[in-house]
Every structure is written in C-alpha cells, then in structure tokens.
Amino acid sequence: MNDCARLSDRMPEVALERSVWTPDEAAHLDECDECGDEWRLMLATHSLAGRTPAISDPVALAAAVQGRIARDRAERIRTRRTWSFVGAAAAAAMVLGVALADRGGTPPPAARVAAGSVLVPLPELEGLETAQLDTLLQNIDRPAPAPSSLDASTMGEHEDGELEQVFATWEG
C-alpha cells in the first residue's frame, strides 16, 4: 500500500476527529495534490453533514415512532389470533363433522378414511374460552345450505343404485 492509499484509508477517522495526522502524513498531504483534493472532499462532506436541519422535536419523533410500533404490534397480534382461531375452528369442525357422521350410520368410504386420519387430539381447543367454544359449536350445528339441484333430506328414501347414480353425478 503506497502513501496515498494509506492516507486515503485514514482520512475518515481524522476528519471525524478520532485521530490526528502524523507529521509524515501532514507533510505528504501538503505535497500531494491528489490527496489534498480528497482531503478537501472529506472536509466538505463533513461540512455538509453539519448543515443538516435539526430534527424539529426529538421527543415527539420518539413518541411517534413508539406509537407506530405499538399500533403495528397490536395489529400483528390481532391478525395472528384471528388466524389461530379460524384454524382451530376449521379443525374442530372437521373432527365434529366426522364424529357426527360416525354416529349417524355407516359413512362413505372416503369419510371413514378421513376419520381415521383426522381424529387426533387438538390442543388448540384447550385454549379456547367457554364462550368461544359455544360460538364454535353453534356455527357447526347450523345446517349447511342444501346443494342447488338436490334435496339432501330425502337421500334416505333412495335405493342404493339411485344413490350410486347421484354420487356419480357429483363426482363427474
């Protein structure tokens, strides 16, 4: 590394007054135009930083940043809770749906497979309040809308062959 490169590396810390020029460095600076120009640039950059308008009210700025952070945190927590609740509700609905189907007779083969794989402990439900569980159960108990072209309540009156045809229509 030559003298110019060494001096260039030292310029920021001298300009920031964290160090001072040695007599040799000062002599080089006087003689070398390239280094002199770079040093003037360094000083001008410092002068520019010194012209920065002061922050009008630092206390208000800190308060504003903190306020935004607090609002953002609250929003994130709310969003996370909502999604946790929705996830727990969906899982619970699936488990209860399978359980009800089990109680109501022999479920179709697909439902039996689902029941075997989905019937697992749900720790999410343990964390719910009684009121939240009530809401969940009310939503599950609400009858689902009937398919547009079929009346599901009359399914029990059909023969197996007819039901096969209905299933074939649903499944394409």
């Binding site: 260039s8 920021p12 810390e13 300009a15 964290r18 950059t45 308008p53 922050i55 903190q66 952070i69």
Partner: protein, 182 residues
C-alpha cells in the same frame, strides 16, 4: 466502604434485546441515539429539508418492525443507514423520479461573512447534488465511510457486498466527487 456503582451506557445490542423483550423505553433510547445521524445521512443523500422528520420516522419505524433482521454483523447505525437508503429510494420512486432537492434546500449565507459562506454553501450544495447522482452503492459506501468512519468489512456486512467491492465503490465515488470541491 463499597464503591459507588458505575452507570454504564447500554449498548445498541442490549437496547435491541430489551426492546425485543417488550421494553418500549429501549426503543426511545435507540431513537434518541441514532435519529440525528439518520437525518444527516438522509440530508446528504438528497432528502429535502422539510421532509427529514418524516423520512427519519419512517426509517426508524421500519427498523423496529424488522429488528430481528439485525444480526449484529454491522453496527446498528450502519444497518439503519441502509434502511434509510431504502426509505429514500421508495420516496423517490413514489415521486416517479422527481428530484427531491429544491431551491429552498439551499442554506442562507451567514451575515458575518456572506461571500465566504456563499462559496461554502455553493460547494456544499454541489457536493450534495453530486452525492445524490452517485449510483446507490457508491453513495451509501461513501456516506458510511465519511460520516460514520465505518471500515470496509462493516460496510460490506451492512450492504451485503464484499470488503474489496466496498473499497472499489468508495474510490469510484471519491474520484467523481473530488472534481466538485476543487
């Protein structure tokens, strides 16, 4: 006789950890500590005087929002400068490239020596324009080095480049800007 307790200034790392643990006062201290430097960085990068407060606030807010992204390879301040650079770029894009510097940004000369101050103001303003026109990496390396005195290893960590590349960017910036202050 027991020695009186020594009051230590908490490091940025300690304050960041305290903030992560829920201490809002730690955030206030970090703001107080670094906001003026962020303002200097933004102003030198071409931000308009009357927008400094808003831009500093936005930069600090974004920093706290993703504080987990600061892993300590670079100093907190260097990391903040990079975020402030992003804020400025976004603002510039929002204005669809419209220049942020304005005539009102020029400082009025001091009454004591109007000629000397006018010359200094002109030089400073030319320099600011010049810094604004540098490619982004050159500008950020130059300001991190000149305003913070950061070493190339730290600059490289903050900007996601190598120390060698940071050195090259710095020297390119110096070569271009030197002409403006001759």
């Amino acid at each position: 006789m027991s020695a009186s307790p020594v009051l230590e200034t908490p490091s940025d790392h300690a304050l960041a950890a305290a903030y992560r643990a829920g201490d809002e006062r730690a955030a206030a201290e970090l703001v107080r500590r670094h906001a003026p430097a962020v303002a200097r960085f933004l102003y030198s990068s071409g931000a308009a005087r009357d927008e400094i407060d808003d831009l500093v606030q936005e930069a600090l807010f974004r920093a706290f929002r993703r504080l987990d992204g600061w892993r300590g390879e670079a100093s907190f301040r260097s990391w903040l400068f990079v975020i402030a650079g992003n804020v400025l770029r976004d603002e510039y894009r929002r204005r669809k490239g419209r220049q942020m510097l304005s005539l009102e940004d020029r400082d009025l000369p001091d009454r004591a020596d109007p000629d000397a101050d006018l010359a200094a103001t002109d030089t400073a303003e030319r320099l600011r324009q010049g810094i604004t026109k540098l490619p982004r990496l050159q500008r950020e390396v130059f300001l991190l080095r000149t305003q913070q005195g950061s070493g190339y290893t730290e600059i490289a960590a903050a900007l996601g480049t190598t120390p060698g590349a940071a050195r090259v960017h710095y020297h390119h910036a110096v070569r271009r800007l030197k002409e403006l202050v001759k």
